[in-house]
C-alpha cells in the first residue's frame, strides 16, 4: 500500500507563495481562502537570527482526527495513497473536523462544505505531481510514496535531517521538512 507524502526542503524554500497561488488556480480555491500557506519562524536577536520558512497545508495524517470526528463520514481516507478527502455532498458543514485539526488546515468553502488540500488527487491519479510541487521555482518540494524505501522522498528522509509538525499530537503527519 502506498502512502503519499511530501518532503519539503526548508534550506531551499524562499517563501514566495508560488505553491499557494498554484493551488488556488489549479483547484479554483475561492477568493479569501487558501488551502496552503507559508509559515516563517524567526529565532534570535538581530543580527544573529535564524529563520525557517515552510510551505504548510493539511498534513494528510495517517491518524487523522478530522476523519474520526466527522459525524457523516464525509471526511475519509481515500484508498489511493492514504489521502484524507472530503466528499462535499456528504458534508453538513458542522466544523467538527475544523475543531479537531491541530494544523488549522481546513475551512468552510462558501458553498458550505469543509475544504482543504487534496494532494491534488486528480493530478496524482493522472501521474502528475500536485500543483504546488510542480510549480515551485526553487524545486524545494518533493512528492511520492513514503512506504517505498526507494522513492525519492524516502531517500531524502533517509539522508537528511528532518522534522514534522506537532508530532506530539499523535497524528502521524505525512509531510516532512528537511532542515
Amino acid at each position: 500500500m502506498a502512502r503519499f507524502g511530501m518532503v519539503i526542503d526548508t534550506a531551499k524554500c524562499v517563501g514566495c507563495m508560488d505553491c499557494v497561488v498554484a493551488c488556488k488556480t489549479e483547484n479554483n480555491v475561492p477568493e479569501g481562502f487558501n488551502r496552503d500557506w507559508i509559515t516563517t519562524e524567526v529565532h534570535g536577536t538581530f543580527p544573529t537570527v535564524q529563520m525557517e520558512i515552510r510551505s504548510e497545508r493539511c498534513n494528510q495524517c495517517a491518524t487523522p482526527p478530522c476523519v474520526y470526528s466527522c459525524p457523516t463520514g464525509a471526511s475519509h481516507v481515500h484508498d489511493v495513497g492514504g489521502i484524507v478527502l472530503v466528499t462535499k455532498e456528504e458534508c453538513i458543514g458542522c466544523k467538527a473536523c475544523i475543531a479537531s485539526c491541530p494544523y488549522d488546515a481546513r475551512f468552510i468553502h462558501p458553498e458550505g462544505y469543509a475544504d482543504k488540500c487534496t494532494f491534488c488527487i486528480h493530478r496524482v491519479e493522472a501521474g502528475m505531481d500536485p500543483a504546488c510541487v510542480a510549480v515551485c521555482p526553487t524545486h524545494c518540494m518533493h512528492f511520492g510514496d513514503l512506504d517505498d524505501p526507494n522513492s525519492p522522498v524516502s531517500k531524502l528522509l533517509a539522508s537528511r535531517k528532518h522534522h514534522s509538525l506537532m508530532p506530539e499530537a499523535g497524528t502521524q503527519p505525512s509531510i516532512f521538512y528537511l532542515t
Partner: protein, 735 residues
C-alpha cells in the same frame, strides 16, 4: 540556425542592441477572433505565450477550459521559466479577471487628477489625441512630445512616436532602477549587465548579494538559479541592513549600516589587493590602470570600514578571503534596482572592479556572454531626423547617461528648457509611483497640453490623464517578438489566449491606428500583426507556425565563457578592463571609486528603505484578486526593540511622517528582529489612491509618496531614493 553572439552583434550594429521597433496591422474583431484557435474552443486547450506580470518575459502555457481561462504554467521549452513561473506569473490569470480593469477609452471632463471621465469610442479617443499632437507639433515641434514606457509592450508606441519625429523616448527602468549599474559596468568592462542579467548564478561557487533580495525579488530565473546554488552548497554572502530571505540562506550575513556599501566594497578590494588574492594573470592580461587603482585603495582598510559600515574588520577580511578562494567562480551580483544614494554608478563600478579582481567577468560562475537569434528588424522607412536633440540631458550634463533620463524630461517639462515639452505618452508605467517626488510630476503634468495613459488598470497616473486608452491584458493580445539575449538564444511569442472582456485593445492596434490618423500609415506597411511576425521570422529563417505551436524556438547553445572560446573583448576606450578610468577623469569625476559618508537624517528619524514582495510587481498587481489574496497590504518593518520602546504593538496601525512633513496612509507595524534599528522598510507598490483601484484603494502605505527627496547621480542622472527619513506617528492622532 542563425545565431549570433552579443559581441558580434555589437560589432555589426554599434551598441544599440535594443529590440527593433515594431508595427502592427489593423485587425477587425472577426479577424482577431480567427487569429487564435482558442477563441472557437470548447473543452480544454493549452496555448503557449509569454508572461507580462513583470518584464522577465517567462515562456508560459495557458489552459482554457470550456472557453474560460483556468490556469497558466511555465513552458518547459522556455529557458527563462524552465517550466515554472514565479508566483506573480502563476497568478497572472487574475489580471484577466480583475474587476477594477479599465474597460473603455476615456476622455477627461473635469480638472486633471479629478478622475472624472466621459467614455468615448476608439475613433473619438484617437482623433482627439491626433489633433492635439498636430497642434503641439505646429507650435513647438514634434520633439515636444515625450514617451515613458515599461516593458516590451511599449515597442509599437515607440515606433509611432519616432515616426512622428520625437527622440524623447524614455523608461523609468534606467534612471529609477538599473541605470547606474549598467553605466558602472560599461565604464569598467565596456558592456552592460543587461536584462535578463548575464549572471551565472547557478555555477557560482561563491555568491555575494549586496542589498539584492533574491527570493523576495522574484526574477524567475535568478531565483531558480539561486535555489540551485543553495542546494549545491555555494558559499553565500549577504550584505543588507535587513535580514532578508537570502540572508537566511547565507553562510555570512553582514548587517551593514544603510548607505555604506561602497566603504565595504573598497575594504574588500583593499584586502584582496594587499594580500595579493586577486586573479593576477587575468588582471595583468585584461586590466588597464591597475597600479593607480591599487594605490588608491591603501586608505580603505577594514579598520576604517568598520567605523563606516559597522562590520567588524575580521569579518571583512574573512569574507574577502572567502570570495578569493572561489575565484573566478565568485559572483558579486550587480543587483538591479540600484538607485539608492546618488553615488550609485560609482558603487556599481566598485562592484564591477571587485568582479574584475576576482576574474569573474566572462568566466563560469561569474558573468557569461549572452547570445541571441538573428531575427532582423522589420524593414521600415527611416524615421524623420529630429531637428532638436533629446530634452532630458542638455549639454550632456550627465555625460554617461546612455539612455533617456525620465526625470530629465520631467524637469524640462517644468522649466520649458532646453525646449518646452507639451505632450506625454505613458505606457504601462505608473509614473506617480515610479518617479520620486510626486509633486514635481504633478507640476510637470500641469504644463502639458496632452497626457495620454495607456494601461490595463486605472493607476494613479491614469487619474491625471486627458485620455486613457484601456489595453487588453497580455493574455488577450499579441506583442512584439521576444528575441532574447540569454545563456542560450531563443525567440518567444506572445499570443492571445482569451478575448478581452470589454472594449480593450492591444497596444499595437492603438499605435497603428494612431499612426494612420497622423498621416503616418506608411510606417505600418503590413495589415495584420501576423504579417509583421511572418516577415521578421522568415527573414531569419524561422516559421511562425512553429512558434505559434511551441511558443518558443530555441537556438543552438553557444560558447558563453572566455574559456569556451568567446573572445575576451572589452569595448572601453583602452580596449581593456578599466581599473582606472581616463574618461571619468576627463569628465571631472573620480577615476577610481571613492567613498563619501551619506548624510544622516534628522535626530529621532529612521531611514526609509523599500523593496519587493514575491507576489507583486511594482504598483501594478494590487488589484489582481489572486495576488491580493496572497498579500493585501504592506507592513512597515521596525526593529522589535524600537517597537517596544515606542510602546507599539506588532500589527498595530501607524503612519509615517517624512522630513518634509508628508504623512503616509496608515500601515501595520511588523515588529521584527530582521532589521537594523536605524531604518524601516516597506514593500513598494501599496497605498493606492486612484479611485478606480477599488480593491487596493488606501490599503497599506505608499513609499513613493514619502520619497520627496532624491539624490541625483552626477554621472548618469539616476535618482537615488534611499535618502528619505521618517518618524513614527501613532494612528490614533489621525483617527
Amino acid at each position: 540556425m542563425n545565431v549570433i553572439s552579443r559581441r558580434r552583434f555589437l560589432k555589426i550594429s554599434g551598441v544599440t542592441a535594443g529590440v527593433a521597433a515594431a508595427g502592427a496591422g489593423v485587425l477587425k474583431g472577426s479577424q482577431l477572433l480567427s487569429s487564435s484557435d482558442v477563441m472557437k474552443s470548447q473543452g480544454m486547450q493549452r496555448i503557449p505565450t509569454f508572461c507580462d506580470i513583470c518584464f522577465w518575459k517567462c515562456g508560459a502555457i495557458a489552459t482554457v477550459k470550456d472557453g474560460k481561462l483556468w490556469k497558466i504554467e511555465g513552458n518547459p521549452e522556455d529557458p527563462l521559466s524552465r517550466g515554472r513561473l514565479c508566483p506573480r506569473g502563476t497568478g497572472g490569470i487574475g489580471a484577466h479577471f480583475d474587476p477594477d480593469r479599465l474597460r473603455a477609452p476615456l476622455i477627461r471632463r473635469n480638472d486633471r487628477g479629478k478622475e472624472e471621465w466621459v467614455e468615448v469610442t476608439w475613433d473619438e479617443a484617437l482623433d482627439f489625441i491626433a489633433v492635439k499632437m498636430q497642434a503641439i507639433k505646429k507650435s513647438y515641434g514634434p520633439e515636444s512630445i515625450a514617451f515613458f514606457s515599461h516593458g516590451i509592450g511599449g515597442n509599437f508606441f515607440k515606433h509611432t512616436l519616432k515616426a512622428f519625429g520625437t527622440p524623447n523616448i524614455s523608461a523609468p527602468s534606467f534612471a529609477q532602477c538599473r541605470g547606474p549599474r549598467d553605466v558602472g559596468f560599461r565604464l569598467t568592462f565596456g558592456e552592460d549587465v543587461s536584462s535578463p542579467e548575464r549572471t551565472d548564478i547557478s555555477n557560482a561557487q561563491c555568491l555575494v548579494l549586496m542589498g539584492s533580495h533574491l527570493g523576495e525579488n522574484m526574477h524567475n530565473t535568478q531565483v531558480q538559479e539561486f535555489a540551485e546554488g543553495v542546494g549545491k552548497g555555494a558559499t553565500i554572502i549577504v550584505v543588507d541592513p535587513r535580514f532578508s530571505v537570502a540572508a537566511s540562506k547565507a553562510k555570512h550575513y553582514l548587517p551593514i549600516k544603510p548607505g555604506t556599501d561602497l566603504a565595504l566594497l573598497l575594504a574588500w578590494m583593499n584586502v584582496i589587493v594587499k594580500e595579493e588574492l586577486y586573479d593576477k594573470e587575468y588582471v595583468k592580461r585584461y586590466g588597464f590602470g591597475f597600479e593607480q587603482f591599487a594605490a588608491s585603495l591603501a586608505e580603505y582598510t577594514p579598520a576604517w570600514a568598520y567605523v563606516e559600515t559597522g562590520i567588524e574588520p575580521e569579518r571583512i577580511v574573512e569574507t574577502a578571503r572567502e570570495m578569493a578562494r572561489f575565484k573566478p567562480s565568485t559572483l558579486v551580483h550587480p543587483g538591479r534596482h540600484v538607485t539608492w544614494y546618488g553615488d550609485d554608478t560609482q558603487r556599481s563600478r566598485a562592484i564591477a572592479l571587485l568582479n574584475a579582481l576576482l576574474g569573474s567577468w566572462g568566466r563560469k560562475g561569474g558573468f557569461y556572454t549572452p547570445a541571441s537569434m538573428d531575427v532582423p528588424a522589420y524593414p521600415y522607412p527611416d524615421y524623420p531626423k529630429p531637428v532638436r536633440g533629446k530634452v532630458d540631458n542638455p549639454d550632456h550634463r550627465y555625460p554617461f547617461a546612455h539612455e533617456t533620463i525620465t526625470n530629465g524630461i520631467r524637469e524640462a517639462t517644468i522649466t520649458g528648457k532646453p525646449y518646452p515639452v507639451k505632450g506625454w505618452f505613458v505606457y504601462a508605467t505608473n509614473l506617480l509611483h515610479a518617479l520620486p517626488n510626486e509633486e514635481e510630476t504633478i507640476h510637470a503634468i500641469q504644463n502639458l497640453d496632452l497626457l495620454v495613459v495607456i494601461d490595463v488598470i486605472p493607476s494613479e497616473i491614469a487619474g491625471w490623464a486627458d485620455v486613457v486608452l484601456p489595453e487588453s491584458v497580455y493574455l488577450e493580445r499579441h506583442d512584439d517578438l521576444n528575441v532574447e539575449w540569454f545563456r542560450e538564444p531563443f525567440i518567444g511569442l506572445r499570443q492571445p489566449v482569451v478575448e478581452s472582456p470589454h472594449d480593450q485593445k492591444p497596444n499595437w492596434w492603438m499605435a497603428k491606428r494612431l499612426a494612420e490618423k497622423l498621416g503616418l500609415g506608411h510606417f505600418y506597411p503590413w495589415k495584420t500583426i501576423e504579417e509583421y511576425f511572418e516577415q521578421r521570422l522568415s527573414a531569419g529563417g524561422y516559421s511562425l507556425e512553429t512558434l505559434k505551436k511551441q511558443g518558443i524556438i530555441r537556438g543552438a547553445k553557444q560558447p558563453i565563457y572566455f574559456d569556451e572560446g568567446v573572445p575576451a573583448e572589452f569595448p572601453t576606450p583602452s580596449g581593456k578592463i578599466e581599473f582606472f578610468s581616463l574618461q571619468l577623469a576627463q569628465a571631472g569625476f573620480d577615476p577610481v571609486p571613492r567613498y563619501t559618508r551619506p548624510p544622516a537624517g534628522p535626530p529621532g528619524s529612521f531611514r526609509l528603505l523599500y523593496g519587493r514582495a514575491p507576489v507583486h510587481s511594482f504598483s501594478r498587481t494590487q488589484s489582481n484578486r489572486i495576488l491580493s489574496d496572497m498579500m493585501d497590504e504592506n507592513e512597515v518593518w521596525i526593529n522589535a526593540d524600537i517597537v517596544r520602546r515606542y510602546g507599539l504593538k506588532d500589527g498595530e496601525y501607524i503612519r509615517l511622517k517624512n522630513q518634509d512633513n508628508v504623512i503616509s496612509n496608515r500601515i501595520k507595524v511588523k515588529a521584527t528582529e530582521r532589521i537594523r534599528p536605524e531604518c524601516v522598510y516597506m514593500v513598494h507598490g501599496f497605498g493606492h489612491t486612484a479611485k478606480g483601484l477599488k480593491h487596493p484603494f488606501m490599503k497599506g502605505a505608499s513609499d513613493a509618496q514619502l520619497l520627496t527627496r532624491y539624490s541625483v547621480d552626477p554621472l548618469m542622472g539616476g535618482t537615488g531614493m534611499n535618502v528619505n527619513f521618517v518618524t513614527i506617528e501613532p494612528e490614533a492622532t489621525h483617527g
